[in-house]
Symmetry: C2
DNA sequence: GGCGAGTCTACACACGCGTGCAGAACAGGT
DNA sequence: ACCTGTTCTGCACGCGTGTGTAGACTCGCC
């Protein structure tokens, strides 16, 4: 299998080498690899045989140049583990490459709004631009690659010149509140994410709405910036009163871990006997027995597939408008939500 | 700032557009953006002004094609959070892009050795190939991109046709063992990573060597596959005897968390009073107060910089041999290593 | 054998850019 | 005024591939 090819063997093999070996013209080689172009079956077979022999495949970049259609998709993020955790990043990358696209990752500094860095680095034609960073605005994205419709995954409000996935966070939150109600919880605290984050706002609004509908009470709120350290610092405020809320909902899982750790390390409150905890995302650590967190799951694989689906539809530019895919959330019940007898 | 450019404004601007606006030839535009080519200062200024006006920068892919030198670097991994955690991935991506390279991420299925998938996806010229997956062998990497010297970060044994970074895991482990010795530990258990992983083997060998040198005892070993779940399952074996080891060293942090969680959830052993725990990597969770893990840190930023440095040196192909950069590790002492009175 | 219809191949150009080379423009010296 | 040297620009070709088009070739029929 590994034929021990010497040190850094020669140059890449080009179409003309294959043509020479197969005894045909270079353009015949090109046609053999094209889906649409016309070519006699036996010439095609001859070419493919020679190509396999030389281990040739067409240079996809030169091909992009010639066709005027690139297969490069740029994924913009701040940190790999920012919004949906590394698992979504993995799923997205894999989905892109399995659909024959080339994922290029662009990582921004935490506070970079991308205005200059996007234009500096995006000096090549792209098929798509996927923005996972919530510090990059729609305007910046549109301006950085004016000839393409960006796919915004930071949940900025929908605009016509932008594609996005409608993450149905509100439904998931409603489901959670309903379960909390049924299990006897009446007062709820909320740990918010970043101020600028739309998803944090969506989750908070849904929480407030559903709570009000049932006559429950949103008793206390704090902001944890989506990060463990800040949430740990902010946690005391959530249980400061004489009576802590029945349950605390955190805008993501990591902050839920911080609240749990604060409660067990610094207070006498037990989870879930005294305080119930719920998170959002269902990252891999939520299943660890020490947390065993009840949370709202985003299906990262179907989200990634949805992104690829958008790119697929947008290949035909006359698809002006179509329904943005809606992502379903799932309430995952583990051990951090108890029952309150009434 | 955001001048509300209409919906999907026209095509990309090319060099000839700039040339026309500046009143020069297209090649003058090209020269204006070149570092080496000769051009009169005022023509250059004229061109750059026109370029700024049109928001132009040269297509880096077409440029690669023309120069016969690509700036694309492919990063191969299994999962984003596989070997060194997402933080190294972030650091590497950023280091690459800041050095003007284009990072393309290729994510393999967990068991994929890459033999076919690498050849299928790498259909374009690359400047470098960085392999972070330990399921991809040197031979596969060499064969997938025969014209380039891969940079292997899975610590396979050094070969002349491959570049790699010498991660000085052994020194870090020696430092740890020395500290364990000084704090009175005499018996040590080891939680290994994957069988196939070279880094796990390096760490185990270093541990065994240093322990033997001091007349300490490597009393028990288990394998946790670098993963929390498997480590949690394997943890009982480490403390099964009538007397658990004084300390347990885990080949990475995540497995250390699993062992700690097992001990506190399922046994009476306290950390660090009864059993000391040490990990490897210093991922962000190691600082969480519930773990507060003593561990061996890899400096992800300098590792990433080292990778970029290798690419830089290899731009000149006559640099046949140079010393591979050595990464220093640092012993991070937190709360999971206690003192044993003797 | 000649001729028309049909099938396929090779030529040539294009994609956007880098760069060797020839020659234009210009300055300075005699 | 003429020559030499220097400085710069534009022409033209090449990077590897896709594809419209003209024409070569085959085949069948009269």
């Amino acid at each position: 299998m590994s034929m021990s090819l010497g040190p850094l063997t020669g140059k890449r093999v080009r179409a003309r080498d294959v043509a020479q070996l197969a005894g045909v013209s270079r353009s015949a080689v090109s046609r053999a690899f094209s889906q649409t172009a016309y070519i006699a079956p036996d010439t095609k077979a001859k070419v493919l045989k020679a190509a396999a022999e030389l281990n040739y495949s067409p240079d996809s970049l030169a091909s992009s140049l010639a066709k005027g259609r690139s297969n490069i998709v740029v994924v913009v993020l701040n940190q790999v583990d920012a919004i949906r955790g590394p698992s979504f990043h993995s799923a997205l990358i894999r989905s892109l490459q399995e659909s024959g696209r080339l994922p290029v990752v662009l990582s921004l500094s935490p506070m970079d709004d991308g205005a200059s860095s996007l234009k500096k680095h995006l000096t090549f034609p792209v098929e798509g631009l996927i923005v996972m960073s919530d510090s990059v605005s729609v305007d910046v994205a549109r301006h950085a690659v004016p000839y393409v419709r960006p796919i915004m995954l930071n949940f900025e409000r929908t605009r016509s010149d932008v594609d996005s996935i409608v993450a149905n966070d509100a439904t998931g939150v409603a489901e959670l509140v309903n379960y909390l109600w049924e299990t006897g919880h009446r007062s709820v605290g909320f740990m918010a994410g970043r101020q600028s984050s739309i998803s944090s706002k969506i989750r908070r609004d849904a929480l407030a709405l559903e709570i009000a509908r049932r006559g429950m009470h949103l008793t206390v709120e704090a902001s944890g910036e989506f990060a463990y350290e800040q949430a740990f610092e902010a946690a005391p405020a959530l249980v400061a009163g004489k009576k802590p809320p029945d349950a605390i909902f955190c805008a993501n899982d990591v902050m839920a871990f911080a609240v749990m750790d604060y409660l067990r390390l610094k207070t006498q409150h037990r989870v879930p006997e005294d305080v119930s905890i719920a998170g959002f995302d269902d990252i891999f650590m939520a299943r660890w027995p020490i947390y065993n967190l009840s949370t709202i799951r985003q299906d990262v694989d179907s989200m990634a597939a949805a992104v690829t689906g958008i790119l697929e539809r947008r290949r035909d530019p006359q698809n002006r408008k179509f329904d943005p895919p809606t992502m379903v959330t799932e309430l995952v019940l583990r051990g951090t939500i108890g029952r309150r007898e009434r």
